[in-house]
Symmetry: C2
Subunit: 125 residues, 2 copies
């Protein structure tokens, strides 16, 4: 059965493989829990956002939710990505929702606190 | 009593106040829990990294731990920030440790999974 919704975890992308590997590791728990989730890159790496939108359409997905793996919204999320998504909506006839960057979610702030506290404890051990 | 260690949560910075407000909100739970933590910006916003390093030295801090509020290490964290920190170490005679970007911490991947699962549940409600 095809999932009715596809989740695209959108990272910036880079020609540096280490950059992409960090995002793949970051996404791994989400991908393991949610079969409808995939990683896509805005630029400089594959799979691109457009590749993943096309793939979702081919799979019969009606709704795509884009979760930006960005801490905050700069020019890319305020201008470039919305323009790309508008283009894909028109060309592929698919419903696409751009969600806020993950850094705006209060749960990320709590995780940051835990990371910093953990780092301090490891330093003091 | 002065804390022996200062934690600097290092964000990129931007002339767009909304960018900085996102990082301040992201850092808020950490700042509330850890009095030795501060936010600093690499460029384009205040307080700058150098301002906060100088402030730590003035406060008698012997060791500064820099926690990059970046999801992955690109040119900034591989080249620019290490060069800035080496300059500050020499000029201010303070011990500074650059920690990995928060996106490399497995706890952030678990938080991402929770955020995406939460988003799906809210969408389905």
């Amino acid at each position: 059965m095809t999932a009715p919704t596809r989740i695209l975890l959108l990272a910036h992308g880079s020609s540096d493989q280490r950059w992409c590997q960090t995002f793949e590791a970051l996404a791994a728990p989400t991908l393991a829990s949610l079969p409808e989730a995939r990683v896509a890159y805005m630029e400089l790496a594959e799979p691109s956002l457009e590749t993943e939108v096309r793939e979702a359409v081919t799979d019969g997905v009606a709704n795509i939710q884009v979760v930006p793996l960005f801490l905050a919204a700069g020019r890319h999320l305020r201008k470039d990505v919305p323009a790309m998504l508008e283009d894909y909506r028109q060309r592929y006839g698919v419903d696409i929702t751009l969600l806020p960057p993950i850094g705006e979610d209060p749960r990320l702030g709590l995780a940051l606190r835990d990371i910093v506290q953990g780092t301090l404890e490891e330093t003091h051990d």
